[in-house]
Symmetry: C2
Subunit: 320 residues, 2 copies
């Protein structure tokens, strides 16, 4: 069954799979029982988070390339580190794969991971690989939070602050809807940027650190849905949040895509997640790369409103 | 389909599953985008490792209770942190579960995790939960390595050192063989300690830290097989290792169990993994809790020998 240069894991074994990963993402910390990270700067803290991606639940092989899946796994984990105001420095990858998986899949996945980890000057420092019935990636991200300013927690939004955001809102959901409607290969070329936003969101590294330095106090990323995630912040902080409709309005391209497939682009904006756009609150000017999208108010009946009205859509991603 | 107090995840949803985990393993670090750990001691480094457990590959629900699975997941990850000479301080849990999974399973799993994390004075600081076709646990362990002594890496064994070990060798493999032969419920009561060694190895916390303080230079745990894991150390350190047969000989109970099911107990000792027994090398006396089981020699044809002979069994666990 050996397909020349594209053998299965059953044919080449575990070590070959580990070797192609290390070839793309080498690290001197790798290969022992555990990885020892460098000393942090004095007074710095360690930040950790984990997210699991399951085939056909978080990604589909007919919609995403293996490299895109690898990039996405790193992006969403590093976004959670950035959402605390920290710098991602390392990632761990635990991987379950059917034994019929091609070695090339592992290699391409690792290439995507290495690309994205490299964008952040971070390293893939270790992992685990095992046989399983389906493809499951579990990435852990490790970050450093320097100095004594508090982390950007969900409970630190204060009445009177501005709500600021860095990144697109709703484009990932638009891309997903286009994939569901057309399949990857038939999405019209003009909508490709939306598909790219879904399959491999390219949030710029370092904005979490910038936000914390520039006086943001609370921050999250819209991973499960804009309203869903901001509700969590509003509830934890005992405040309400009012978003400015114009500031979060769908782009012209999103409107066009929505029209083409008969969807409402506001659903993408309000319920869509996975843009991994950072959303914070601050009393000061919007940090570099951020724009103002709303204000923090006293608690009202509606935890998160849009132009003071209840949002048209609000439920986000639920695992069950 | 609701079974009274034992609903499925499809019935109660993601938040209920998270709630029962947090009820067993509460942490103030939990519930934000990422967990911020305490400042380490000055000059301390962070150590990270991850291991994935897949249903029917690493555990079976008819052989292990959910609490045992939880304990095992922590034990094997924390053993890797200890094998560097570090102290485990935190764990993250990523969990994929079919939607028909009972909430009680999640609760019991969390109870086992909380127990074991508590043994180490560590905390479960975060995680992720998602729907998937099979049960997959991915645990990440975070540890602290204090001071300036090097970590206990695989490449630091030196000719003339003693090989020292803390814990049983081969009992987990004996337990697995008994489960395969009898099934959990029919294993004779006298062999239960061996089954317990497999389903919930109870390695005492803190020995990695003790070993590093007491002059051990290289260390690993026998997770994939005694000879397999020591070969890795011997190769990385460019040395050979000779084990003393008497010091690693199967116990009387292992002999009896082997006789009962027609097995060779030496295969359990030499090929068996998952005891998570720490094995180190040192020029000094064996640290508290460790015993001498061999010596480090110049490179010979046989990387790891037993009484200077090639071992009777040697291949260990392979994922593919």
């Amino acid at each position: 069954m050996n397909q020349g240069n594209n053998p299965t894991l059953a044919e080449v074994g575990e070590q070959a799979a580990i070797n192609v990963i290390i070839a793309h993402a080498p690290s001197s910390r790798n290969g022992d029982d555990a990885a020892v990270l460098d000393h942090g700067a004095p007074n710095s803290r360690t930040v950790v988070t984990t997210d699991m991606l399951v085939e056909n639940r978080h990604f589909r092989l007919d919609w995403s390339t293996p490299a895109e899946i690898g990039r996405k796994a790193i992006t969403q984990n590093f976004a959670d580190v950035e959402a605390m105001g920290a710098r991602p420095v390392a990632a761990l990858l635990a991987l379950s794969l059917p034994k019929t998986t091609r070695l090339e899949f592992v290699s391409e996945l690792a290439r995507g991971i290495a690309q994205r980890v490299g964008d952040y000057n971070a390293e893939l420092v270790g992992g685990d690989i095992t046989e399983g019935d389906s493809i499951v990636l579990s990435v852990t991200a490790v970050g450093r939070l320097g100095g004594s300013i508090p982390a950007l927690t969900l409970d630190a939004a204060r009445v009177g602050q501005d709500v600021v955001a860095s990144g697109v809102i709703g484009e990932s959901a638009a891309g997903l809807a286009l994939l569901q409607y057309y399949g990857r290969k038939k999405v019209p070329i003009e909508f490709q940027p939306l598909v790219a936003a879904h399959c491999a969101a390219a949030v710029p590294p370092g904005r979490g650190f910038v936000a914390r330095s520039a006086g943001v106090t609370a921050m999250t990323d819209n991973s499960d849905g804009l309203i869903h995630d901001l509700k969590l912040m509003a509830n934890r902080s005992s405040v309400s949040i009012n978003l400015h409709k114009e500031a979060i309005a769908p782009s012209a391209l999103m409107h066009k895509a929505a029209q083409a497939i008969g969807a409402d682009p506001w659903e993408w904006v309000l319920r869509g997640g996975e843009d991994h756009t950072l959303i914070g609150t601050t009393c000061l000017d919007a940090p570099s790369g951020f724009r103002r999208i709303g204000t923090v108010t006293k608690t009202k009946t509606i935890a998160v409103s849009v132009d003071k009205q209840a949002p048209q859509f609000e439920n986000g991603w639920q695992s069950f």
